[in-house]
Symmetry: C2
Subunit: 203 residues, 2 copies
């Protein structure tokens, strides 16, 4: 069986979106900078453009996550916000299980299916793992990641740490309660504009 992972871009001050994220603005105000740094790089202090090799490093890390992911569990809020922007060919190309209290029929778009699961995070994970086989199950976004983390069901966290301070927005790590959680940093991939940090959760 594969691992249960969180894989998200985060600002140095801990945000995965800017403020006021929603259907009109999926990444919130300024949140698109998180992705700009990774996909388009960012001129350095000398004003020169980022080297192609830097962008290639970022793509390789993201491609690796894509290849190792066999299914996805996501929150209904994320689905509702992104359904329209994803269009007819959502980028996942694997089965997606959407946690929700509001039942809905299975949706098939391109190579991605969205199944709506109303019986909790454990059941959603079981279903995702059943289809993922040896591949990983990726869970997102912040609220869902926090639930799996607190339930002790998460194995790994990959953070694409982007050197910006957004100041406001949606934090990846909050509402985690008072018990501290020990991690081990298992990989650091350095690229201009972003540092890819991988952690496993120690139990």
């Amino acid at each position: 069986m594969g691992k249960v992972v969180v894989d998200l871009s985060m600002s140095l001050d801990g945000f995965i979106t800017g403020p006021n994220d929603g259907i009109e603005m999926p990444l919130g105000e300024g949140g698109e900078r998180l992705h700009d740094r990774i996909f388009r790089g960012k001129p350095d202090r000398s004003g020169s453009s980022p080297r192609q090799s830097a962008i290639d490093v970022n793509r390789a890390v993201l491609d690796e996550a894509f290849e190792t992911t066999g299914a996805i569990v996501m929150g209904r809020r994320l689905f509702d916000i992104e359904e329209k922007p994803w269009g007819d060919e959502p980028p996942f190309q694997v089965p997606v299980f959407v946690l929700t209290h509001r039942p809905r029929e299975i949706i098939k778009k391109g190579k991605t299916t969205f199944t709506f699961v109303t019986d909790g995070i454990e059941r959603a994970l079981e279903r995702a793992q059943a289809v993922a086989g040896d591949k990983d199950v990726s869970v997102s976004a912040a609220n869902v990641a926090q639930q799996y983390l607190q339930a002790g069901l998460l194995d790994e966290i990959q953070i694409h740490l982007v050197p910006i301070l957004l100041g406001q927005g949606r934090r990846l790590f909050e509402h985690l309660g008072t018990e501290s959680i020990e991690l081990e940093n298992t990989r650091v991939v350095e690229a201009p504009g972003v540092t890819h940090l991988r952690f496993c959760i120690m139990r």
Copy 2:
């Protein structure tokens, strides 16, 4: 003139202390783990002890910060909490300027002097820079760092990122307002138990 820097250990979820930090417990509940990981390492998953070389890397990074620091600006709260634990030989060995609304006579302990500054962060920085010469001025802790950051007076941030989730405590980055701040990641030093990340602030 040297740079104005922040140099602090931070958990992956953004805390520089655990909850309920104060005179009785300077690093808050569980906050000592931030330092344990750096100074004493942490057994890995196999149960083996950290290699001495890993601890040496951490010491080298911390020694470098010590060597390049010519003066310190700190908040009165931090001073009040740590005054007793520091004892007669505080670890700084450079002039320290304490931001406060409550005047107090200069204190000299070992090779460290504490000067209490009541006329604001700009004036405290000027006085610190005057004695630091070509060396850096280090500002701490969270609240003071936030003030210098918002005033546009900070040049660099070094984070010793410790792979634990404390869940609660004092965040390094908050109250920063709505304007996002762009950084450049200028160095990554990888060591088991901690990743040392250095950023310069782009203006």
